[in-house]
């Protein structure tokens, strides 16, 4: 029994190592895609945040002439009135923003000076596109600066009347952000677990297909089923090979992350990560039970399909299943608990998030995660064996 399982497992590992497509997906696609994507995403978002904080803004101000002091105040905060526009009315400003020619336009009312002098409330309009997230930072800075100018004038008016400006600010909000740099990075690095789960599954995708639907398609399944080996041994051997490729893909992905993360300028975002070789190793251990679960799941799904192509399109969806608990977790912002450890893929996500936050992993949680993941894997493996005992498996 054991030797037959090993024979099948060894053969599938060896056979598929000669298939360039299989090797490419499990040693390159999965392992490299996640880290590369993450590095790019990080650096883009970092450059956006840092650039908009430091860089001067050029903004078209219609009617700048009606508000010389405001324009000077804005200029002192790095927001200069752009000369290169021919906008004259608020309607033109609206269409310019809508067309994407400008991302934000300031409009100063003709009566601005008068209203300011008569203390009736002077109007300044901001024209922008809320759906254009790229301009968020600029709009926010301009709005904040105009607000600051407004407050400055308000304070002066109160002082002129002999009042302390604090009179109109009865409450003062003091912000204490208790998140550590590690915790802030965990929001973005939450994606890391998704990439790890994804790489694990994709590493076994071709094997799961080849050892089931592929075997049927090239008509090698019938002679195989006619050998004196119990179906359970055949299936376990095949799943073993699939899981082995998954673990290979996972290990390579972790190595890539360990190498790539130092290239992410996390500290510029006020984040830091404690992702090193030791964490990578612990993450690997946390994810080990996930490989047999994934292998069993894919084998079961592929067993229902009639051809290689059909199997691949179904398995494409299967790869998405583990992300569902992750999305729910992200929306509800759940914290690790023993009960949640019973949900495979969510438990791994929470444990690895803990790891990245440099918080300790509790042994009972790890044990529950291990047990439930392996149990579900065993149930699926049993289902696969039953499927292979049906004669319809020959297709």
């Amino acid at each position: 029994m054991m030797s037959a399982i090993l024979t099948v497992c060894r053969k599938e590992i060896f056979d598929n190592s000669r298939d360039r497509r299989t090797l490419l997906t499990s040693t390159l696609l999965g392992p490299l895609m996640g880290p590369l994507l993450l590095v790019v995403m990080f650096n883009v978002s970092i450059s956006r945040v840092t650039s908009s904080v430091d860089q001067p803004i050029d903004v078209p101000i219609i009617g700048a002439g009606y508000a010389d002091n405001l324009v000077a105040f804005l200029a002192s905060r790095g927001i200069s009135a752009s000369e290169e526009h021919d906008l004259a009315s608020i309607d033109e400003a609206i269409s310019a923003v809508r067309n994407g020619e400008e991302d934000v336009v300031v409009f100063v009312d003709e009566s601005f000076g008068e209203d300011l002098a008569s203390e009736t409330g002077a109007h300044v309009s901001l024209v922008y596109d809320e759906s254009d997230t790229a301009s968020d930072q600029r709009v926010g800075r301009i709005r904040g600066s105009i607000g600051a100018y407004s407050q400055q004038i308000g304070n002066l008016r109160l002082l002129a009347r002999g009042l302390d400006p604090a009179v109109v600010r009865p409450l003062i909000i003091d912000n204490f952000d208790v998140s550590t740099a590690e915790e802030r990075s965990s929001i973005l690095l939450g994606m890391l677990t998704y990439f790890l789960l994804f790489a694990t599954l994709i590493g076994g995708l071709y094997l799961a297909t080849d050892t089931t639907a592929g075997e049927r398609e090239r008509k090698s399944l019938e002679p195989l089923l006619a050998t004196p080996v119990p179906r359970s041994s055949l299936i376990l051997g095949k799943m073993g090979a699939t899981a082995a490729y998954m673990l290979l893909s996972l290990a390579l992905t972790l190595i890539c992350f360990t190498v790539a993360l130092p290239f992410m300028s996390l500290d510029e975002l006020g984040m830091s990560t404690s992702f090193n070789l030791v964490t990578a190793l612990i993450a690997f251990v946390v994810l080990v039970p996930y490989a047999p679960l994934g292998a069993a799941l894919m084998t079961v799904v592929a067993s229902f399909t009639k051809s290689y192509k059909e199997a691949q399109s179904y398995l494409g969806f299967v790869i998405l299943i583990p992300t569902l608990p992750l999305i729910v977790a992200a929306i509800l912002n759940v914290r690790p608990s023993l009960a949640l450890m019973a949900v495979p893929s969510l438990s791994q996500h929470l444990l690895i998030t803990n790891l990245i936050r440099a918080e300790p992993i509790e042994a009972p949680m790890l044990a529950v995660s291990f047990a439930t993941t392996l149990l579900l894997g065993a149930l699926l493996a049993y289902a696969a064996v039953r499927l292979y005992e049906r004669e319809r498996i020959l297709g």
Binding site: S3, K11, D15, R218, E222, P223, V229, E391
Partner: protein, 241 residues
């Protein structure tokens, strides 16, 4: 010995095989003859235990295929329709895999593979990947794979399909040698001439039923015609009008 008694198999409402009974003796080649879709493959698949009979019984070497399929699989060698080799493995690796699955130890296996490679004249392709093999090479490797655990029974489903004349003659010679060694060989075909030159016993099957059985001589006597092709046509119910 292989024996089938009122063997029936239905896929849903379609009866692929009804009440088929025959016997294939050791040391003989038994031909299972019939047109395409007659039920030959279904019959062989039941005997190789990958399908279960709906009714009736079948036994190989005295072991019932329904009661102990695993034991039956240990004493049969199969060559299913389409050789079904692993394209990324070499001829030797393909054969070795099945030898290991059949529980042959590595030393014995290496010796046997050497002998089979020689006997089946596979020396040129032994270390080449099966992906590029011709139909003839594929069939030979698949036959070696079926023989690697030296099974006393051989179930061959249309082994001459896609082979050229020379390859067919060679295959015929090997099968006769294998029968002389005392093996029980059951071979299916829809080509009359191939079987007539080879089989000691004939089972003609049409529409899932036995149309006629006996030695080629007996059949010729019964149908009053010495040409086997004529026997075949009249046995399966005449030419389509």
């Amino acid at each position: 010995m292989i024996q089938a008694d009122s063997l029936s198999k239905a896929f849903g409402k379609i009866a692929a095989l009804s009440e088929v009974g025959f016997r294939a003796r050791d040391g003989q080649i038994t031909g299972l003859l019939g047109p395409n879709g007659a039920g030959k493959s279904t019959c062989l698949r039941i005997l190789s235990t990958v399908l279960r009979p709906s009714h009736g019984t079948a036994s190989v070497g005295g072991i019932d295929v329904s009661h102990d399929p695993l034991a039956v699989r240990g004493i049969i060698g199969t060559l299913p329709h389409g050789a079904g080799l692993y394209p990324h493995l070499t001829a030797i690796e393909n054969i070795r895999y099945f030898g290991l699955l059949c529980g042959v130890d590595r030393a014995t296996l290496a010796r046997r593979i050497d002998r089979l490679i020689q006997r089946l004249d596979l020396g040129d392709v032994a270390d080449r990947k099966a992906g590029g093999f011709s139909q003839g090479e594929r069939t030979k490797v698949a036959l070696a794979r079926a023989l690697v655990h030296e099974p006393p029974h051989l179930l061959l489903d249309e082994p001459t399909n896609g082979l050229d004349v020379m390859a067919v003659r060679q295959l015929r010679k090997w099968l006769q040698e294998l029968a002389l060694e005392g093996r029980c060989i059951l071979i299916s075909s829809h080509v009359m001439q191939e079987i007539s030159a080879l089989a000691d016993d004939l089972v003609i099957i049409a529409h899932g039923r036995i149309a006629a059985k006996g030695t080629p001589m007996e059949l010729a006597d019964r149908f009053g015609n010495r040409d086997l092709e004529e026997i075949f046509v009249s046995a399966i119910g005449g030419e389509p009008s």
